[in-house]
């Protein structure tokens, strides 16, 4: 139907248009980070390269780095370089920031994917069981786990897991990256906190869907319970989960930074924390920018995907007649 496509592309266009001011805002904030930081970047770079700090050398360096004009000119200069992929040079290693960050990004993405998988593997059984055995021990257990998941700091959970599973029982490696076995503990640490809350959401969704006519009809027709849940109910109960996924992604990304620190995982979060101690502002700038871009783009994808999943929203919020 033509109007359905028209709705979707109009929506897409509108949604993309909202990204522009946000992205400009993000670039201004990240730009200002360097401006607000104490210390003159030109001086730091010169000192790094063992060039004598004469006034001429400083002026030349400022001019080359685009630091001599007024604020808006410096911003535009910075933005031009940014758009050509130049994020500046790390103060501590002298390497381009983009290269430093991109070389560690796969490790962080691997961890985030592991965390996500762990989250789903915990949340689904827990949520479904809590809905099926509503107001029983299992339900209370899931509620309790959700509370614990929201209350225990992830770094503490990570250390507990290391102490129990890696050191005492010697089942898994303590830290580092390499095999799937290395990924298990960090993923579990990252996924647990979110899993519990997702389980509650899935439970609430299932309980609502299970009361709907079509589920009762399916049951009345004698459809097996596993099919009722798996094929009929779960699909609709998933929609609220997808809608909040974008929100929890911020937690997931922030979580990778903490978990990387606990497990000595060689990702961008660890790089950023080290950069703080080295006062390496360009690295921090690049990190903030990259994380914001990932966060915004995944949220866009989530928005579009649940619009696709739920026909009621797909058609501009009108009920399908």
């Amino acid at each position: 139907m033509w109007y359905r496509g028209a709705f979707l592309s109009y929506y897409l266009l509108k949604r993309f248009a909202t990204l522009i001011p946000v992205m400009i805002g993000v670039s201004i904030i990240t730009f200002l980070l360097v401006e607000l930081a104490p210390g003159d970047p030109a001086e730091i770079i010169l000192a790094k390269r063992d060039i004598e700090l004469t006034p001429q050398a400083l002026e030349e360096a400022r001019r080359l780095m685009g630091l001599d004009g007024p604020l808006y000119e410096r911003y535009l200069h910075w933005l031009r370089r940014l758009l050509s992929g130049d994020l500046g040079v790390s103060y501590s290693s002298g390497e381009p920031v983009a290269r430093e960050i991109l070389s560690r990004l796969p490790a962080t993405l691997e961890l985030a994917a592991g965390g996500l998988l762990a989250m789903l593997l915990i949340a689904f059984p827990l949520g479904i069981a809590a809905a099926l055995y509503n107001r029983t021990f299992i339900d209370h257990f899931s509620r309790f786990t959700a509370l614990i998941g929201a209350s225990v700091p992830s770094f503490y959970l990570g250390l507990l897991l290391i102490s129990m599973l890696a050191v005492h029982l010697d089942w898994l490696p303590v830290m580092g990256r390499g095999t799937i076995r290395h990924l298990l503990l960090p993923s579990l640490t990252l996924g647990f906190g979110l899993a519990a809350t997702y389980a509650r959401l899935l439970r609430a969704g299932l309980l609502e869907v299970l009361q709907l006519e079509y589920v009762r009809a399916a049951r009345a027709r004698g459809v097996r319970e596993t099919l009722v849940i798996g094929r009929h109910a779960l699909k609709n109960a998933l929609i609220p989960l997808v809608t909040v996924f974008g929100l929890s992604l911020g937690n997931l990304l922030g979580g990778t930074m903490v978990v990387e620190q606990v497990f000595a995982w060689p990702g961008v979060g660890r790089l950023a924390v080290q950069a703080i101690f080295n006062r390496d502002i360009p690295i921090l700038q690049g990190y903030a920018l990259l994380m914001a871009v990932i966060y915004v783009l995944v949220n866009l994808a989530v928005d579009l995907s649940y619009r696709y999943l739920d026909p009621r929203i797909r058609l501009g919020g009108k009920e399908v007649g």
Partner: protein, 295 residues
């Protein structure tokens, strides 16, 4: 309302936990058997005993005293941050929602921009620029967190503004400030109380996390996250160095979460257990609260 809160076992236990932590924070100087800061290398890693109820840490300091004073540090900073957040976020939201127009657009652009960053990551980067330390943690967390309140308050004001009694009050010539204070604020406050309670738990977590990373409390300040970081080399040999502050953090956050849940159930009984309720609650547990609340 207090009666209802006390009758709910979960909320009551939350209230008791918070009361306990608050008491520890207020009476720490009276309750603590030792000064939490001076180093005593001759008394390193002593087991629990009569003199040191929970033993000593790697620098010979009384673990029990440090955990008590840790409550003080944590609550002091969490509450200060909350006050700063509320005093920026609530007026911003009220103003944007009530006045609308260009002001609203400007505030919401700022809010959207800050919300485009994962909350903890922006705080981390700000601390990187400002330099480590608890005061800078406070600044950074306040700067990234007020936007959630601005957004939630604005959303509520927008819906309340349409009510007839607001129109009536304005027709009668009531000054704007009085309309906001008398007629809008009372409606905004209850959900705000839930949000603030849950947020205190989140702030305790963030302070502990940033201190664990070495970016918050600096030695010798007794802070729970920093204590856990200090305890890492003794993970196997003296696990209680890590267990005690860890349990303190988890318990405090749990207390705020239980209390927040209880408040929500009382103020908005229908939402408890429903998809919308869980969704809103879920959003409130996450940083940048308020995105889902509006939807």
């Amino acid at each position: 309302m207090f009666n209802k809160l006390v009758r709910d076992p979960a909320a009551l236990s939350g209230l008791l936990i918070i009361a306990l932590v608050l008491a520890a924070a207020i009476f720490a100087p009276l309750l603590a058997p030792h000064n939490p800061e001076p180093v005593s290398l001759t008394e390193r890693l002593l087991p629990p005993g009569a003199d040191y109820p929970l033993g000593t840490d790697a620098l010979g300091r009384c673990l029990y005293s440090r955990v008590l004073f840790g409550a003080r540090v944590t609550l002091q900073y969490a509450l200060s941050i909350l006050i700063v957040i509320l005093s920026i976020g609530v007026p911003a939201g009220l103003l944007a929602g009530y006045r609308g127009g260009l002001l609203d657009t400007a505030v919401m652009r700022m809010v959207d921009t800050i919300l485009a960053f994962p909350n903890l990551i922006l705080a981390l980067v700000l601390i990187g620029v400002l330099g480590p330390g608890l005061f800078n943690v406070m600044l950074a967390l306040a700067l990234v967190s007020w936007v959630g309140y601005a957004r939630v308050v604005r959303g509520m004001v927008l819906s309340i503004k349409e009510k007839e009694y607001i129109a009536a009050a304005r027709v009668c010539g009531t000054p704007d400030l009085k309309v906001v204070w008398r007629h809008i604020m009372p409606n905004v406050l209850p959900p705000l109380a839930v949000l603030a309670t849950l947020d205190l738990g989140k702030l305790v977590l963030s302070i502990a996390t940033l201190s664990f990373l070495g970016l918050g409390a600096q030695p010798p300040t007794p802070e729970w996250g920093a204590m856990i970081n200090d305890a890492r080399p003794y993970l196997q040999t003296v696990p209680r160095l890590m267990f005690v502050p860890g349990i303190a953090i988890a318990l405090t956050v749990l207390g705020f979460n239980l209390l927040g849940d209880g408040l929500r159930d009382i103020l908005d009984p229908r939402s408890s257990g429903s998809v919308e309720g869980e969704k809103r609650h879920f959003a409130w547990l996450l940083p940048g609260a308020g995105k889902a609340v509006e939807k």
